[in-house]
Amino acid sequence: MIRENMGDLDDLYMEIILDHYKSPRNKADLSHIDNDNMHENPSCGDSLKLEILMGDDGRIDSVRFDGHGCAISTASASLMTERLPGKTPEEARSFIEVFLKVLRGEEPAERLEEWGDLAVLGGVVKFPMRVKCATLAWHALEKSLED
């Protein structure tokens, strides 16, 4: 008995999200990084590691991730890593702050629109149980920038 209207579901699993889930960008085998640096979402068992490479100019050169997660958390990590190269750590921090505020419902989803494809993650706000999935990579990035 699949309900007639699967519209809501498509709001969550938009084409871009499914694409990044099936072919994640910047996903790599990071088994050389210690598992102590694994970030976990204890409610669902998802886990994620990040590797940030800094350029000589003090800006982020590239970010790669490894781990196991649902469509939302994988796509969110993939979309996030695409937007990071060229940012200073300071810019990355404000980028994280805005994203987390939108996902917490404290800022309108439109705030994400200037970031292209990443804006699709604003739709997750309508699925409160999945917000943690979307923010896992961002909290991992926040933590990694502190270290």
Binding site: I2, R3, L9, Y13, L18, C44, G45, D46, I72
Partner: protein, 444 residues
């Protein structure tokens, strides 16, 4: 009698059932003795929520069951007609409330075939019951260097309290290892004997049915080993009480804890059954009103059983609701409920194992499992499975099911879990299967 599961004695054999004997033993048959015969789909009419959600396939009863009208009515009537504090006042209303509470205790006592009402302690649920037992038993028995034995398949409620008690006491937490099919490796008892650790085991705790994989644990094998050594065995019956008729003393265990809300009763209700000879010796867990006999500035003495373990004003309505649930099960016929559910379990097992790309966890023998179907779909995360199924009108759980050690052991972060109750129908399973096919297509 095996494993404390009450056997059927007459009538036509309907199907084999796991006896709880060691895994190599042959399965036995249990005939349905109830003259009313099998239970039909009309059982759904007893559940207002099921009636008011005709399009919902509720397959999350291992998390919490729906409640029959009889339970809702009992709680409502208690508050409308009998509400007063218990065990204190002399007026008529207080007496009625006390009677309602103590009659509920008698209902539980008889349901579990306990030796006396003194063996029945009301709690908020399995978790509280297991915390009570872990604290009190380790206070009584455990010192530095001793061993607390639990299984690798436990729900966190039957794991963390023992782990923390081990930390407090400087004791060692030892896990009975699990096999890949979600059963326990009971040869481990021999290993404990061989390396001498058996003598250091002071308490053992194990789930009757695994909430993560549905494995039925052969309690008798464990309880026999424990009894021979005078080790008290605690049984987490949260998942077994809803599915099997249980004779508590016959399990051979010394304690059993369960939640009311998983056996059609209200949330916030639960029971610890314990053998009186143990409970008498054990120190109280929580202290305060009701559980005392005499209080002086220099010392206090404790009330008699079971009140020694019931500090403060109890949730009387929850106890009344829990008793109403057990009475509903008895009146409907515990074995009829079980038989109906097991038919559906076999149907579910057959349907799910036929799906390509679906891995079903737990025993490959459908007669050695109950209630729970934990699975993963190739390349699709359990959260995405559950999210899709929700839109298809099918309610299941996804995640680690509060059993992270068990999940880690299986090498999986999470599973999707469908769990059954007698109000489920074949159509619910068909919707689940349709949904699974749909989600495979969606994420292809």
């Amino acid at each position: 009698m095996t494993d404390g599961i009450v056997p059927r004695t007459s009538g036509t054999p309907v199907r084999p059932l796991f006896t709880g004997a060691p895994a190599t033993d042959p399965l036995t048959t249990r005939p349905l003795s109830d003259p009313r015969g099998p239970l039909g789909d009309e059982i759904r009419n007893d559940f207002p929520l099921i009636v008011s959600h005709p399009d919902l396939a509720y397959l999350d009863s291992a998390a919490t069951s729906q409640k029959p009208e009889a339970v809702l009515t009992a709680i409502d009537l208690y508050y409308r007609q009998d509400n007063a504090n218990v065990h204190r006042s002399l007026y008529d209303l207080a007496e009625r409330s006390t009677l309602a509470f103590e009659n509920s205790r008698r209902t539980v006592e008889h349901y579990l075939n306990a030796a006396s009402h003194r063996e029945i302690i009301f709690t908020r649920g399995t978790t509280e019951g297991l915390n009570l037992l872990a604290w009190s038993l380790t206070e009584l028995l455990v010192k530095e260097g001793d061993i607390l034995l639990v299984s690798a398949l436990e729900h966190h409620a039957n794991f963390v309290p023992w782990q923390q008690a081990a930390f407090r006491k400087g004791a060692e937490l030892v896990l009975i290892p699990a096999l890949k099919d979600g059963t326990l490796n009971l040869d481990f008892f021999r290993e404990l004997e061989a390396d001498g650790r058996a003598d250091r085991v002071k308490v053992a705790a194990v789930a009757h049915i695994s909430n993560a994989f549905g494995t039925v644990h052969p309690v008798r094998a464990s309880s026999k080993w424990c009894r021979e050594r005078g080790i008290p065995l605690v049984l987490d019956a949260a998942q077994s009480l809803p599915h099997l008729p249980i004779d508590a003393p016959a399990t051979g265990a010394d304690f059993l804890a369960f939640s009311g809300h998983k056996v059609y009763g209200p949330m916030g209700s639960g029971v610890v059954w314990g053998r009186e000879e143990w409970l008498e010796k054990m120190p109280p867990w929580q202290t305060g009103g009701e559980m005392i006999s005499m209080v002086k500035p220099e010392k206090s003495t404790w009330n008699e059983l079971p009140y020694k373990f019931e500090a403060g004003t109890p949730d009387v309505a929850a106890a009344v609701g829990l008793a109403a649930a057990l009475n509903w099960m008895k009146e409907t016929g515990v074995e009829r409920l079980e038989a109906r559910e097991h038919e559906l379990e076999l149907y579910t097992f057959e349907k799910l194992t036929a799906i390509e790309g679906l891995t079903l966890y737990g025993p490959a023998d459908p007669y050695r499992r109950r209630g729970v179907f934990s699975f993963n779909l190739d390349g699709i995360h359990s959260h995405d499975v559950a999210q899709y199924l929700d839109k298809a009108g099918v309610a299941i759980r996804s995640g680690h099911h509060c059993a992270q050690p068990a999940m880690r052991l299986m090498g999986i972060p999470s599973t999707a879990r469908a769990s059954l109750a007698p109000y489920n129908i074949q159509a619910d399973i068909d919707h689940l299967v349709e949904g699974v096919t749909g989600v495979q297509e969606y994420f292809k």
